[in-house]
């Protein structure tokens, strides 16, 4: 759990983060959105004390984060930064091993961890481990950056626009990976993005920042239904609301008993994906299958239409 308590950061006269308070529940994904320069990165960096706050405090699992030296704190909190920041003079394996090495893990444990993470991110350890970062594609570098942040099994992972530089296909893949990893390790994730689509897809809770303040901090659905300010409404995009609503829920949630013809849809996809598939195939219903291919019923256009309507 991360408790942010009336935290403020000033640079000279300008207040960059202005008396922000919020509580982030463990094992959730919190997404921070907002215009450029609104203080998202600064807020996030105060959690691992890359930036020292001017006033206020932050508790991590009840302990003030100022209780231990900054570098020790940072070894316990994963941080994946914009543009990955891999060390160019170290191999992929060495990059991932950075924090475990700093923590003094023994070699076999480090090797095992590197292998596990590379495999998890679908990079062959034998092929990619010994390579240098510049020998990787942008998407692969990005994944290594996240793997490095996860290497010491941190309870908390901070991610600053981690998928900003990726093409749409790889980005979608990376998002799925992230959700899988979050499930796997039960990590508390705080993520900054400019992509509202991404925010609604990943977030358990969304925080909207504007000029250093949190203007709304709510579950995606609540935010769609009751945007706190005009700014939040604009940010969500009025025309996008039904689709955002659908993108929050999974196909599994919308599945009902019954059968349908046509190309089956995976239960893990979002309802928005299901809507697309239905519209494109011109059918009223499509079959739903689980990850193992077992049939789980069907999803209908009618039920999706209902779900996309403003909740009463």
């Amino acid at each position: 759990m991360i408790e942010i308590d009336t935290i403020t950061k000033r640079y000279g006269e300008t207040t960059v983060v202005d008396t922000v308070s919020m509580t982030i529940a463990p094992r959730t994904i919190t997404v921070i959105v907002g215009t450029s320069g609104s203080g998202k990165t600064t807020l996030m960096r105060m959690i691992n004390r890359l930036v020292e706050p001017t006033s206020g405090k932050i508790l991590i699992d009840g302990e003030p984060n100022s209780a231990i030296p900054g570098y020790e704190l940072r070894r316990r909190i994963g941080y994946a930064i914009q543009g990955h920041g891999l060390f160019p003079h170290r191999t992929v394996a060495e990059n991932i091993a950075t924090v475990p090495t700093l923590l003094g893990w023994d070699k076999s444990r480090i090797d095992a961890k590197v292998k596990e993470l590379l495999t998890l991110f679908q990079l062959d350890p034998a092929a990619f481990g010994p390579r240098y970062p510049h020998e990787l594609s942008g998407g692969q570098q990005q994944r290594v950056g996240v793997a490095r942040a996860l290497a010491a099994e941190p309870n908390i992972l901070l991610m600053d626009e981690p998928f900003g530089a990726l093409d749409p296909v790889i980005r979608a893949k990376a998002q799925e990976d992230l959700l899988a990893i979050q499930k796997h390790f039960g990590t508390t994730i705080v993520l900054v993005t400019h992509d509202m689509e991404e925010a609604f897809h990943l977030a358990d809770k969304i925080a909207v920042m504007d000029k250093g303040k949190i203007v709304q901090y709510a579950a995606p659905q609540d935010m769609l239904v009751n945007p706190a300010t005009d700014f939040v409404e604009t940010l969500i995009g009025a025309g996008e609301r039904p689709f955002r609503l659908l993108s929050i829920g999974t196909v599994a949630d919308a599945a009902e008993a019954g059968e349908a013809d046509g190309e089956p849809i995976a239960a893990a996809l979002s309802q928005r994906d299901a809507l697309s598939a239905l519209l494109w195939s011109g059918r009223q219903a499509l079959p739903v299958v689980g990850a193992d291919g077992a049939p789980l019923g069907r999803v209908t256009l009618a039920s999706l239409t209902r779900r996309a309507a403003r909740p009463q």
């Binding site: 890359l50 003079h89 924090v99 240098y132």
Partner: protein, 247 residues
Amino acid sequence: MKRLLPNLLRLAVLVILIAFLLQPMLFEPLLKPLVQANAPAVYNQGSLLSLTLSHLATVFTATLAATIVAVGLAILVTRPIGAEFLPLSRSLVNIGQTFPPVAVLALAVPAVGFGEKPTLIALFLYGLLPIFENAMTGLSTLPPAIVEAARGTGMTAWQRLIKVELPLALPVILAGIRLSVTISLATATIGSTVAAKTLGEVIIAGLQSNNLAFVLQGGLVVAVLAVLIYDAFSAVERVLSRRAGRV
């Protein structure tokens, strides 16, 4: 494959240089045409080998000291503590480089007298500048994302310096050392005008006795040393920066 020919050439040059230093008399027939009938064609007032070694030792000592001091200073002025010294350091480097090496040498004599010392001091002072400048550049132009990442992974300031900043700045620092060594190799010859034991003795003996062969052998040995050392440094830099993906 493309590098093979130049490398063979370098090897050949190195072998010839060593042969010349060990058995200079073998080359007498080549040098004979450059001198008058009864003048010696091969330097005979001392051992070429020992002069070369002491030339190299002088340059090595001065460069080593210059590297330690320059890199240390560069580290200092690129830390937050030393930030106030940065603008002045940059100007001093610029000003210092306008000092001609001969002037530095000549001005060192009143301070320490004749012999090896003024040469060492001049080479040290003059060698500081390129190394300091490059180390400063290398350490202050690291990609911010990488420095951030180093902080973000929980490295202490010292660990960041040793594990990330210095390794990344190394190719640039090496380029500075290479420049410094090349200048020093040539400048050390002037040291012989203040009685330092360097290959300059051979050249000056040649100038004084109007013996072109002496001038040539002294000059060529220094030039060959400089080219070989320059190339060796360049090769190391290439390997390092290719590793760091900077090419």
